[in-house]
Symmetry: C2
Subunit: 480 residues, 2 copies
Amino acid sequence: MNEVEEVSRLLKSEIVVGNLGSSLFADSVSMQGKRVVEINWEAPCGGDEKLYSMLTDMRRAGRKIDEANAKALEMINASHPFIAGIGTAIRDVPGMRENLILHAGPPITWERMCGPMKGAVMGALIYEGKAANEKEAGDLAASGKIEFEPCHHHQTVGPMAGVVSPSMPVWIIENRTHGNRAYCTLNEGLGKVLRYGAYSGEVIERLRYIEKTLARVLGRALMLHGAVDLRALIAQALQMGDEGHNRNKAGTSLLIRELAPSIVQVDASEKEKGGVLDFMHSNDHFFLNLTMPAGKCTLDPVMNIDGCSVLTAMARNGTDFGIRVSGLGERWFTAPAPRVMGLYFTGYGDDDANPDIGDSTICETYGIGGFAMAAAPAIVEFVGGTPADAERFTRAMYDITVGESSNFRIPAMGFRGTPTGIDVLKIVERGIVPAVNTGIAHKEPGIGQVGAGLVEPPMPVFQEAFEALHETFKQSPGSD
Amino acid sequence: MNEVEEVSRLLKSEIVVGNLGSSLFADSVSMQGKRVVEINWEAPCGGDEKLYSMLTDMRRAGRKIDEANAKALEMINASHPFIAGIGTAIRDVPGMRENLILHAGPPITWERMCGPMKGAVMGALIYEGKAANEKEAGDLAASGKIEFEPCHHHQTVGPMAGVVSPSMPVWIIENRTHGNRAYCTLNEGLGKVLRYGAYSGEVIERLRYIEKTLARVLGRALMLHGAVDLRALIAQALQMGDEGHNRNKAGTSLLIRELAPSIVQVDASEKEKGGVLDFMHSNDHFFLNLTMPAGKCTLDPVMNIDGCSVLTAMARNGTDFGIRVSGLGERWFTAPAPRVMGLYFTGYGDDDANPDIGDSTICETYGIGGFAMAAAPAIVEFVGGTPADAERFTRAMYDITVGESSNFRIPAMGFRGTPTGIDVLKIVERGIVPAVNTGIAHKEPGIGQVGAGLVEPPMPVFQEAFEALHETFKQSPGSD
């Protein structure tokens, strides 16, 4: 058939229009009575020509990025975190010192800290015996005598305000594959707790109980038991309705049954040991402070792979949302912390909520949490969604990740591995931000948790990191 | 359009044939080049005219059956089982006596018992000190001095061989709504165990450990703790990957975390208490012996509702498969126990397998187990299926049940209640038998478990009960 015949044949047949992009064109064709097939398509980089041209540059160096990202995924999948024991921040956390307080998220000064973080810092100073009350604690924090640094700079992660002070006990998590460690405090439970910015007498008393009894008994139980395979516990929990961030009921249960036989043998009173088992049993989030450092010790070794566009951290201090990208080392990219879309406890609403806060986004960076939402449909139900929504959340994340977890599998999706290795190139190209589950803190210090929900990280932070990564490609054009 | 025009129009248009029933007709139309739409349809009662005429009779008495079945469903949903404590068969199980041994399934004589049930009986006689070895035990069992009765006749259920002898400790489960109780032994674990027909030294030793230590410590812990809301534990477990029959990992975990704080306080040595927690932790089926009596104490009060076609028991003694129907009281309907379709442990195959055995089908009768398969996709994966298969299993069961559980919900199905209240009328009408999960015992005594899988109960047993129910309708024509 020659070209004329071809056109003539086309004109005789029914014209079906395929529409790519804006639906305006499709609408006008459709109004002329022609069939239109809408093709689900978005312009790459949201139609931003500058970003698209950078993307093209970087894709040209294809093999370099692909190899770097494949290496990152391999390291994440090979990582094998164990619970090695319980220590104390001042003794075990690298770089910890007497006048240092660690906090969640990227670096921030006392002046710029949000209410709940200030509340947690004041509570920590009272707990440490450095201040007698809120007034003294606030003055000391502002005096310049106390230094503030991110948990992330000390192989540590902290949920919500993420405050770690020298006397606090910490889980010691060891990545046996890469030989590094990560640290996290012990979860306090819900309600009025330091990590949500509360610092009343009951909060300080609970912190002392955690130090004097809980950590002592659990630490000794771990010595009797030996290291616990944390990766295996997380993998099982994801097959039992947890996603490892906002739902940790199964993980908490598995930890209790693993440690209970050893807890019984610890040299402590029956009342103390019963109290420890009760404390864990009454807090379904107890396991969160283990999934977080499991993620941290997995992602720390992934930092500084040349040309790698995989995220090694997402973290919020309640004022800024920050990320780190492997190929860009320890540099933070930040934007204002977004609001959380969620449900509130009775008596609270949007006006009470602090913006997004905490290091717990290390879960999503690790390939669990929001990325494993399909494993925990009960969470979306809490915010009014359905199991189908949960699966859609997870499915969308395969579009912005390098690959799949070989450890963490989702029963509802035919035991497919969770989307793992968040790729900043794909985020910018596809215009899809990572899905994150989180709790909501009151914006004022001293109050605590007021709700829970889902949050959309700010796109500009990924675009800025993307541009910085492009800079490194200009400096070293890659292996091709 | 008049009739002639209508026919004329039809003849001009393309003829599409809708085929209902046998595909033979569809095939021949299809061969003539016509389009055939197969409509998924089966003749009611598998095309059996006698059964269909009986069904029509009974459906005519519609309101009576519907009201009776609605009452049964309401009673099942209202039932609220609690773990009340731990007792001993001779002291607590109604009608238990020194020379009595209870067994799984419908009534059976020593002579007709299958290998694993004989093995379990011999083991129980050795455990009770009534025989020194296999030979003595076999002789005593055959002597007529020992009586055998079904667990089901004594408010009791037992997994696999289901053997209960006087000294054995039993869980005491109380249905607080209806005031009745049910009993079950404590789960021994996997491998060489009495319930699978093994009776070697290690088996007897474990039974003594259960009696002397496990039951004593757990019983005291329960006294310190108070009754445990068993329905709440089962409901949570079904949201954590269990179906309550072949998968009980979550239920076992939830039970351990609930009881551990009290176990620590029991007046026993640390070694004993640690051992008890270890014993439970090492056996993910520990919770099965609680879901079973939860079902039994729920279904016992449902017996004897006039005109009710809901099953109150399905049970197998390894020789016969038996059922009971509410409207027919305590009468058993039996047929030969079917083979299990499953996977075998290395070294075993079809030739080693005993036919289906055990009272654990009380789970399905209760609306969990195979009926909640969609909650536990890991089980179908074990036999080579997918999560979609698991959901198909559960969906099919809605066709043969009166309604849905208001207590047990399946996350993967949008938190829909499990299919509950198995209706023998619908089974016969639709030609669908209940889906059952089970373990496989070696056919010879003394060996133990050799695999696990799925089993199809024999249709004749349901047809026979259906016919008997029809008889009662002839005697009392119902409320219309």
